[in-house]
Each structure stands twice: as structure tokens, then as C-alpha cells.
Symmetry: C2
DNA sequence: TTGCTAAGTCTGTCAACTAGACCTAGCCTC
DNA sequence: GAGGCTAGGTCTAGTTGACAGACTTAGCAA
């Protein structure tokens, strides 16, 4: 195989790295998983992710600062006011990341009984998942069908 | 909103967590990004990811142990034998994870000039990306269109 | 007044990351 | 065949971050 073109370009601007600098820390993905499952309270998050309280606190604060979660006060009848963490649109857009982690795990690391979570289309109930497709409507079945090319923001290595 | 069903189920078996325990460490995603860009050599990886050599060494070893990468010796004419790291099928299946991180970064954290990398369909050249669809062929446009349900491997919390 | 709970913060310990130097095997040149 | 070069690591010491467990605070309830 020939030398990959990628070696001629700088990685400093790569948006994978940019994404990871925001959500790439150890517990953040688990926090997001719970958020997508509808979990909104600190204590539920803490119990379900197993993250140390202090770490959870700092991850939630980071996600709020980045606009991925919104922290809003709410109050149940007869209860004192509490805080809840809800996904913003920016956070919702991270769903494909969680789904792709889930899909890989279901294929390669599912427990004996099968996957513990199934994703379904809200309207028709059929199983939902990610598909790799191109703008012309072809469905791609493998990473080999994709050719990465330098984009407008690419910078050559000096 | 009602109490999410997720609270009644155990997270210990969740395959998102299982996936993250294999590939969730800080530099691993960047290593995979480079692998998908065709980078195979230790030194190229090191230079492009910026990972400390020792960390890179241990991440590569972990990925090889998990069967995500294969370490194979090769030899260029007139050179001594070297090692290269190539994605296995199991590794190729992680491509959606990288693509989804890339897509989110392109939307929310792209550098001024635009995305540095474009993904294209190898056969037709059109832009490629992930879409959320259900088994009945409906395209889903938002995380809100997905309903997660307990799967066969779900375990109730005691 | 005391107790309870959600949502944190504080403290000490221990593991992980980091930078930078060092090592090693094969090849090349002299 | 001595020395240098390079890919692919390992070693060491210092710093940061994770962790468990105790403590804190605000509002409500008995």
C-alpha cells in the first residue's frame, strides 16, 4: 500500500480530537448514556454510572459549560426545588456516538442473554440503528467503502 | 415526564460500558482515527496523536490483545523488518464510532476554514455519513424518534 | 428540634499520565 | 568491524487525576 495521504496533513485541527476534548473523558460517555435513557438527577447518575461523586460533579459541570447539558431547577409537588440535567440539542446530536458504541458492544461484548438494551423507532416499533450511506443514496457496508479526503480546513504539515 | 424505565434496570451489563472498557481510554480513539486514515507505524502514530510513547505502546498492546488491531511484521526492500498495526474486521466495525465523533465535531467544533477531513463514497465520490434508520426503512432525524427498550439481556435491579 | 434527603464538597491515598532520557536490534557507511 | 542511524520501544521521576469515604448544606417533614 502506498503512503497514506493523511501523513501529509496536520492533525491539530481534526474535529475528532476536538470532540474528544469535550466529551472524551472516562465517565462522560456513561453520563451521556444515562442522559439518553432519561436519567436526569445527580444521585441516579451516580448510582448508575458508578462514577465517584466528585468526578460526576465535575463532568456534569463541564458538559453544562459546553452546552451539551442544561441544568434546570424543577420542583415536584411537596418537594423542595432540585436540579436536573437535560440534553440540549447539541447534546442530542451526540446520540450517534452512543448508538455506535452500543452497536459495537452488542456485536462483540454482549452478555450471555443478549443485548440489554434495544433501540426502536418510536413511531413504528422496528429496530433502529445507524447506517453508513452516501449523499447519492448508496448504502455502504464497510469502512473500506469510505475514502477520507482532505477537506477545506485541512492544513499541510510544514 | 414519568420516571424513566431505565432506572429499573441494571447497568452492569450495558454494552456501551463494555465497549468503553476496551476502547474508552484517552488516546485510544485518536489511535483508531489514525488507523482509519491508513497510519500503521508506531512513530507516525506517536507524532500524529501526540500521545506519550509509553502510553501509545500500552494502548496499541491493549488493542492488539483485544483483537481490534493486528500487529504484523513487514519489510520494505533494503530495510530491516518492522512492525505495523492494521485494523482487523473487529476494528473496522468501530468506524461508525469515529465517524460519529467526526460528524459532531464538524458541526460544533470545526476550525474556521471548515472540516479538515471529508468522507466520500469510494465508488461514486459523494459525501458519506451515518444516518439513523429503522428496519422498516424509515429515516429518523432525531434522538427523540428512538425509544430504548429493555432487551433480552436486561436485568432488573434487585 | 430533630431527622431525612438531594446534591454536592473536602481529604487523604493511590493509580495513571506525562516529559524526557535511555535502550536495542538491524542496516548502512566508512 | 566501529560507529552512526532509525524504528520501536523501556525506564525514571514528577505531577495530575481518580477514588473511597466522611462531611456539608438547604429545604421539607414529623
Amino acid at each position: 500500500m502506498s503512503r497514506p495521504w493523511a501523513l501529509d496533513y496536520d492533525t491539530a485541527t481534526c474535529t475528532v480530537g476536538a470532540t474528544l476534548s469535550i466529551v472524551g473523558e472516562k465517565w462522560t460517555f456513561l453520563v451521556l448514556r444515562e442522559a439518553f435513557n432519561g436519567v436526569r438527577r445527580f444521585d441516579d447518575m451516580q448510582r448508575r454510572t458508578g462514577a465517584p461523586r466528585q468526578v460526576l460533579s465535575s463532568r456534569l459541570a463541564r458538559l453544562v459549560a459546553e452546552g451539551v447539558l442544561r441544568k434546570t431547577p424543577y420542583r415536584e409537588p411537596g418537594q423542595r426545588p432540585r436540579s436536573e440535567y437535560r440534553l440540549s440539542e447539541k447534546g442530542m446530536d451526540l446520540y450517534p456516538v452512543i448508538i455506535s458504541l452500543l452497536a459495537w458492544g452488542d456485536k462483540y461484548a454482549a452478555p450471555p442473554g443478549g443485548p440489554p438494551v434495544l433501540l426502536t423507532h418510536r413511531d413504528c416499533g422496528a429496530a433502529a440503528g445507524l447506517q453508513l450511506a452516501c449523499a447519492d443514496g448508496h448504502v455502504l457496508t464497510s469502512a473500506r467503502d469510505v475514502t477520507p479526503l482532505p477537506g477545506p480546513g485541512a492544513r499541510r504539515v510544514a
